[in-house]
């Protein structure tokens, strides 16, 4: 039986090695992003798998020295649009049962966190924060996810969402304001006075 590796050209071997190091390292971030987009572990797996296949195919077009994670995210987002756009939920509509199920599915895994300082924030549950985020219109939710959760720069986000940096800035500003109001609602329901303190 022939060794498959012998069939590879030296260039192809190099490409594989580089791809494993550069791209596969971001699998957890991609999977989490896919989960947030699809709200379904099976769809998320499919999406990540297709993203990597496409990324591998076009790895030669990846500009060395730029952020590989941002490049992969863009591929994933485009895949998601092509695949799921038809079924995408309307902006602002939140399926709370879906979020509950989703959190039930992944509840075994806790994020390792340090706590925010204020009491108001201490009172919020993971699920509530997630619901608040999911209830934002997509254009705001997307930039907040990419910036606050994934840590992309404004330039990288602008490239991903295909909008000018100024638009990213203002979406972040408005999105955080909306989010803050929603989080305060949750805190108030728990009896916290969000107008005092800080």
């Amino acid at each position: 039986m022939k060794d498959k590796k012998q069939l590879l050209s030296p260039q192809e071997e190099l490409k594989q090695k580089e791809f494993q190091q550069e791209a596969v390292a971001h699998i957890n971030a991609l999977y989490n992003y896919a989960l947030h987009l699809t709200m379904n572990p099976d769809d998320a797996e499919d999406l990540v798998q297709e993203t990597y296949l496409k990324a591998y195919k076009f790895f030669n077009s990846f500009e060395r020295g730029t952020n590989c994670k941002a490049w992969l995210f863009k591929i994933l987002k485009n895949n998601y649009i092509n695949k799921f756009r038809k079924n995408a939920r309307e902006p602002g509509k939140v399926d709370y049962d879906l979020i509950k199920d989703f959190y039930h599915t992944i509840k075994d895994v806790q994020s390792d966190t340090t706590e925010a300082e204020s009491d108001f924030f201490h009172s919020l549950l993971h699920e509530e924060v997630y619901q608040a985020l999911q209830s934002l219109p997509e254009e705001f939710r997307e930039v907040i996810q990419l910036c606050d959760i994934e840590g992309f720069t404004y330039e990288e986000i602008a490239n991903m969402v295909e909008s000018p940096i100024g638009t990213v800035r203002s979406r972040l500003y408005r999105g955080r304001k909306l989010l803050r109001a929603k989080l305060e609602d949750y805190a108030k329901k728990r009896g916290y006075d969000t107008d005092s303190g800080e």
């Binding site: 498959k4 590796k5 069939l7 590879l8 192809e12 594989q16 791809f19 494993q20 596969v24 699998i27 957890n28 991609l30 999977y31 989490n32 989960l35 572990p41 797996e45 990540v48 798998q49 990597y52 296949l53 591998y56 959190y103 992944i106 895994v109 806790q110 994020s111 966190t113 340090t114 706590e115 925010a116 300082e117 204020s118 924030f121 919020l124 549950l125 993971h126 924060v129 997630y130 985020l133 907040i144 910036c147 606050d148 959760i149 720069t153 404004y154 800035r169 972040l172 500003y173 955080r176 304001k177 989010l179 803050r180 989080l183 800080e198």
Partner: protein, 66 residues
Amino acid sequence: MSAAIDGELTPKEEEELVSHLAECPECRAEFQDAKNTKIIIRERIVRVQAPKTLLESIVRMTTVSS
């Protein structure tokens, strides 16, 4: 404001913001609110590991000659 929180201001803009915040309690409160909102999102959104089977299948797909 958002740009300041995300470390995206130029040094000059940052200098201007710092001196403005020093004398404007409303903006200071808003700045703190926006900062806390970023922190809570980063800390409370649960992150999970990708399934091992997914990782293995991707490594396999991109290792074998096609």
